[in-house]
Amino acid sequence: MIGASEHIRPRRQRASWFGRFQVAALVLLTLIAIISKFYLPRLIPSTVWLELPLLLTVYFGLKRPSPILALLFGAFVGIAEDSLAPENLPIGMYGITKTLVGYFAATVSVKFNVENSGIRLVLCFFFYIFHAFFYWLMRRALLGQLVPLDPRETLIHAAFNAAVALPLFMILDRMKLSGELTA
């Protein structure tokens, strides 16, 4: 018994250290993703379509076995984005949308092999469209704001984001932020 407990303790300590590191790294990545959305279009105007916070939420959802953690992470990212939106868009719009994206991504990850690049591509494409459509619907239904939604543009942007997601997810895989070590 004593030998077993001694064997377990270092692994727990290591796991908790990784857990803390992962949380800090995730917060930092989220901040970078939001800053990129905030600042990158100023630097390169043609990157307005890039949705790094969404891709991060999808990645976290796909890699995390727990839908609760995924939806909470989605809510956190969404609310952070809402905070930088104009005041005519109340806080919670992106929060709700990304909560759902995180939850669905985690649910889907149980049923599909999410390590496959093709599946990742399709899922990112689908989640971008869902995200754009749901946000547009909420603005229309809850706030009464008649904002145009161009289907063709949305499809093109979804394809671009899916293309960006593949190398991004590979980089994140290498960073081992998915939680396998803590699980």
Binding site: L31, F38, R42, V48, L71, I79, N88, L89, P90, T99
Partner: protein, 386 residues
Amino acid sequence: MEALLSRYRNLTVLLVVVVGQLLYLAYQVKTSRDERLIRVWAVSAVTPMAGVVEAIRHNTIGFLQDYFILLDVREQNRKLKADNDKLRMENVYFRNQLSTAEHARALTLFQAQSPSKTVAARVIGNSTVASAKAVFIDRGSTSGIEKGMAVVTPDGIVGKVVAVYPLVAQVLLVTDPTFKVGVESQKGHVHGVLDCGNGPCVVEQIQEEEKVTPGEWFFTSGEDRIFPKGFPVGTVIAVQPGQGMKDVKLNLSGAPGGVEEVLVVLHGVHQPIPVGPVVEDSTTKALPPPPPESGAAGKQQAVSQTEADKVVQKYEQIGKEQNHVYGGLASGLPNFNAKPPANTPATQAPAPKATPQTPPPPAKAAPVLPLGAPRPKPERPTQPPQ
């Protein structure tokens, strides 16, 4: 119940989180209250980083250009550009004033009103919502910026301040779907509402019988209580009959999407809509070259411009009459009290009398005019208004 909740734990948490956010959202909409604390935290966390990134980018490029290529020309250029922007703003004001039908009235208006007071700011970031057209500028409440202030460039309107933080402010651009601006046409003074929500900007609420032509300028009407009246908005690119209302498409002159430096109007001044050609005439118009002078004919055509010119001409005439050579040896002094002949140019202008017979009317405060601006004609004595 507990078994049910534990079985559907994920779904329960999802519902709780979503419903919680929905209730919070409904609370914000219902009370029209914005959760300022969360926004302040987020802006305070993000904008310094964006500011640092922007400063690094700007300084790196600037350093290379300043010290290796252009030395200090870039700094000088920036200063000149700022001065130029300020002068262009003033120019808009002066042109608008001077192009009104009654020149004297415009000058009186100018005297009574002061030009809009502005503060320059740099755009440092976009909004996180792609469909919402908003930007952050590097000036906040510490620079005197307040919510609702208009944001313009010398070319046209940009947007309005919707949120103010200590060091930054958020500006909603006129191209945002929820933004409407009251506008007025230059020729027919047709009032409408500018809406850039669905693709190209259109002017709504214009009746079919109103006359609007392509190429015509639209200006802010001041009715939205955001932009002072008289700021250029854009030109009409197409006019089509619609369903009950005219379909007027407008090309914005301010290019709010790609603007990098803006002016926040701290104190706006309404101006009349100009009747003449508008500000945005970027081509420099030069005067034709002067005709070649030919001896005395050229001299006769020369018209005295200032009082000093007239005095010089008068003395020259006196010198000629008395055969006096100015600067000549032992030539003495000419009689300056002698009157020059009546047909000389110097005497054509009314000479001011030293001792007037009647007391002069109370002098009106002369309007302060910019250099080169045309001077008003002397007013005729009129009856005081009854």
